[in-house]
C-alpha cells in the first residue's frame, strides 16, 4: 500500500468523515472541535447511513462517494477458521484507528491543524491517548511532522503506514530481527508456503503504539475439575500454598477485556 499524497481529493476519502467535514466547513473551527469527539462513533456507521444523514441534514452539496482505501495491515488468521477466536490483544481507547474502522487518513484533520512538538496543555483532540512508550514524549517521535498519514524515519523521510515495522525497528532492533525470522509476533495461516499464504501481523496490530505493553486480560475459565473425583478440602487448598485450588463449580463465561470478536484490522474490503 502506497502512501496517499495529502491532496484535496484525499480529504474526502471516507463518507463518515466527509459528513463530519461538511459540518466543519459550515460551523467553523469551534464546532469542529466539539464534533471531533463524536467522530469515532460515527466512523463505525456504514457509508450509506452516513450519506443519508448528510442528505437529511441540509441542502449542502452532496460530495461524491470515495471508496475506502484497502487495508494496510494483514488480516489475523484464516477466514475459514470461523470457530477460532483470533482477536489480537491490542487494547486501545478513544481515537482507535484499528477498532473503529478508521481509514488511517490523519490528514483529514491535520490538513487544518498542524501538529506541534510540544503539548503543554490538555487539548480536546487525542485527549485519551496516553503516551507510555519508553521515553518517547512527542507525537512526532514517530508521526511524520507534515504528512500525518505516515511515520517518520531517522532522517525525516516518510515511512508508510504499511511499513510500520520499519518505524518500530528504529529502536527495537532485536525484536525486528526476530520478527523477520518469524519468531516474534503472530504468524497465521499456513506454515507451509507451498500450500498457502502465511500472514505476519505488524507491530501495531497487537501492540498499541502509544501503550505497547499488553494489557492484562481476564483468562478464559480453567479446566473444570471433574465432578466424579474426590474433592479435597478446597478452601484450605485454595487459600494456602502453591494454590492447588480445585475447581468444582463451573465458571462464568470469561471474556477477555480486549476488543470484540472478529478481525479487528479495520477496513471492510
Amino acid at each position: 500500500m502506497t502512501q496517499r499524497p495529502p491532496t484535496a481529493g484525499n480529504l474526502f476519502v471516507s463518507a463518515p468523515i466527509r459528513a463530519g467535514f461538511l459540518l466543519v466547513v459550515s460551523a467553523g473551527a469551534v464546532g469542529w472541535l466539539m464534533l471531533s469527539g463524536a467522530l469515532p462513533a460515527r466512523a463505525a456507521e456504514t457509508n450509506n447511513a452516513a450519506i443519508s444523514t448528510a442528505d437529511a441534514r441540509s441542502s449542502l452539496p452532496v460530495l461524491p462517494v470515495v471508496p475506502r482505501p484497502p487495508a494496510t495491515q494483514p488480516e489475523a488468521g484464516l477466514r475459514s477458521d470461523t470457530h477460532l477466536d483470533k482477536t489480537p490483544p491490542r487494547k486501545t481507547v478513544g481515537l482507535d484507528l484499528v477498532k473503529n474502522g478508521w481509514t488511517y487518513n490523519c490528514m483529514e484533520c491535520h490538513k487544518l491543524f498542524p501538529a506541534r512538538w510540544h503539548y503543554d496543555r490538555a487539548l480536546n483532540e487525542h485527549k485519551d491517548i496516553k503516551l507510555e512508550h519508553g521515553n518517547n514524549r512527542f507525537c512526532l517521535n514517530c508521526h511524520h511532522p507534515t504528512n500525518h498519514n505516515a511515520f517518520v524515519d531517522y532522517d525525516g523521510a516518510e515511512i508508510a503506514q504499511a511499513d510500520v515495522v520499519l518505524l518500530c525497528a528504529k529502536c527495537h532492533g532485536t525484536t525486528y530481527r526476530d520478527w523477520k525470522a518469524g519468531v516474534h509476533g503472530r504468524a497465521n495461516g499456513y506454515w507451509n508456503s507451498a500450500m498457502g499464504d502465511r500472514t505476519r501481523l505488524r507491530c501495531i496490530q497487537c501492540h498499541d503504539p502509544h501503550f505497547p505493553k499488553f494489557q492484562a486480560m481476564k483468562p478464559l475459565p480453567p479446566l473444570r475439575y471433574p465432578s466424579r473425583a474426590v474433592k479435597g478440602d478446597d478452601e484450605a487448598a485454595a487459600g494456602a500454598s502453591g494454590g492447588h485450588a480445585v475447581m468444582t463449580q463451573p465458571h462464568g463465561q470469561g471474556q477477555p477485556d480486549t476488543e470484540p470478536k472478529g478481525p479487528t484490522t479495520s477496513h471492510a474490503p
Binding site: D85, A187, M195, M217, K218, L223, G242, H251
Partner: protein, 324 residues
C-alpha cells in the same frame, strides 16, 4: 508330623457321602438353577441400555489403521461420517491425511510472552471436538496452562486452576503444556497393542478404533498430555468442527485415549495448529524441523531453549524458550 492316615485313604467315596439324585433333589436343583439364571439375567440387565451399533461385529473385526487397505479405510471413514451424523446431527468430512515428505514438526513456546489467557486451551476444544457439555468445560482440552511462581521452574508448586481477574499476575509466569510428540515417546512404547505410534513427521497418533483403553500410556506420559474418554463424548452440534481427520479430531468413541496431534488435520494440510492461530501474544512458533530455514530452527539456533523434563529422556519436539 507326617501323613495323617485320613489324608491317604478315606473310608467312603463321594458317591456314598452324597446320595444319588432323586426327584426331590432334582427339583431343588432345578429351582436353584432357575434362581441363579434369574440373578444372572438381572445382573446383566443394564446391558440393554447399550446403544445400537455400539459394539458391532464390523468394529470387532476391523484391522489396525496401518494394516487397512485404502478401500477399507475409505469405507470406514464413510461409515464414521454417517455414524457421527446419526449420533450428533452433523455430517463431518473425515479425511485421512498422510505425513508430508521431508517434514518433521517442531513446536516452540515463548515463556517470556505467554500471559496465561488460556485461549489456546479453548481453541483446542473448538478445533478438536473434545467432549464438553458447554464452552466452559475444558477438562478434555489437550493443553494445560500452568501458572508458575517466578524464580523457579517448579511444576510441583504450579497451579492449573488459576482464575484471577486479570492475567498475567505480577509474581507469576505461565507455561502451557501439551503433548511434546517425543522422539523417545514412553506412551507408544508401553502401549500393549500398538494403538498409538509415532508417524514419519513426528506426530504421535492414536487409532481410536484399535485402542483397548488400558490407560497405560497415560501413566507413562510425563507431560500429562493424554486424555481418556470416560464417557461417550458430549458435544453440541453447533460446536462440532466438521473438518476432521481419522487419526486426530474425529469424535472419539467412549473408552479410548486421545491426545494432541499438533492439529494433524490442519498441519498436514499446511496450516498452523489452532492453538497457535489464536495465541494473542504470538508466543507460539511452529514449523518444520527438517527445513533449516524454518522459524523453529531459528529458535533452536538463536534462543535459549528449555526442554521440560529433559532428564526423563523423552526427546520432545516441543521446546520452551526465553526472550529478551
Amino acid at each position: 508330623m507326617s501323613h495323617e492316615p485320613e489324608n491317604s485313604v478315606s473310608p467312603k467315596t463321594i458317591e456314598q457321602v452324597y446320595q444319588p439324585m432323586n426327584r426331590r433333589t432334582f427339583l431343588k436343583g432345578t429351582a436353584a438353577a432357575m434362581v441363579g439364571m434369574a440373578g444372572l439375567v438381572a445382573a446383566l440387565k443394564p446391558l440393554l441400555a447399550l446403544e445400537r451399533g455400539e459394539v458391532t461385529l464390523h468394529d470387532l473385526l476391523q484391522k489396525h489403521y496401518r494394516e487397512l487397505s485404502p478401500a477399507d479405510l475409505e469405507r470406514i471413514r464413510k461409515s464414521l461420517e454417517a455414524k457421527c451424523e446419526a449420533e450428533y446431527g452433523v455430517r463431518p468430512t473425515i479425511k485421512d491425511l498422510k505425513p508430508l515428505d521431508g517434514v518433521g514438526f517442531g513446536y516452540a513456546l515463548n515463556l517470556t510472552r505467554c500471559i496465561g489467557c488460556r485461549k489456546c486451551a479453548h481453541a483446542c476444544l473448538a478445533e478438536n471436538n473434545q467432549s464438553r457439555e458447554d464452552a466452559n468445560d475444558i477438562e478434555m482440552s489437550y493443553i494445560r496452562v500452568l501458572e508458575m511462581n517466578k524464580g523457579a521452574i517448579n511444576l510441583e508448586t504450579s497451579n492449573a486452576y488459576y482464575d484471577p481477574e486479570k492475567v498475567p499476575q505480577k509474581d507469576k509466569y505461565y507455561m502451557p503444556v501439551q503433548c511434546h510428540q517425543c522422539a523417545q515417546s514412553p506412551c507408544t512404547k508401553v502401549c500393549p497393542v500398538q494403538a498409538t505410534w509415532q508417524e514419519k513427521d513426528g506426530l504421535v497418533v492414536v487409532d481410536y478404533n484399535w485402542c483397548i483403553g488400558c490407560r497405560y500410556c497415560m501413566a507413562a506420559c510425563p507431560y500429562d498430555a493424554r486424555r481418556f474418554n470416560f464417557k461417550k463424548p458430549t458435544i453440541k452440534p453447533e460446536a462440532i468442527n466438521r473438518e476432521q481427520s481419522y487419526l486426530s479430531n474425529r469424535i472419539r468413541p467412549k473408552g479410548v485415549v486421545e491426545k494432541c496431534t499438533f492439529c494433524l488435520q490442519r498441519t498436514r494440510a499446511g496450516k498452523y495448529p489452532a492453538c497457535l492461530e489464536v495465541c494473542p501474544t504470538g508466543a507460539r512458533v511452529f514449523g518444520n524441523l527438517l527445513d533449516p530455514n524454518s522459524e523453529i530452527n531459528y529458535i533452536l539456533n538463536n534462543k535459549r531453549v528449555y526442554i521440560l523434563k529433559e532428564d526423563v529422556g523423552t526427546q520432545p519436539r516441543f521446546y520452551y524458550f526465553f526472550d529478551k
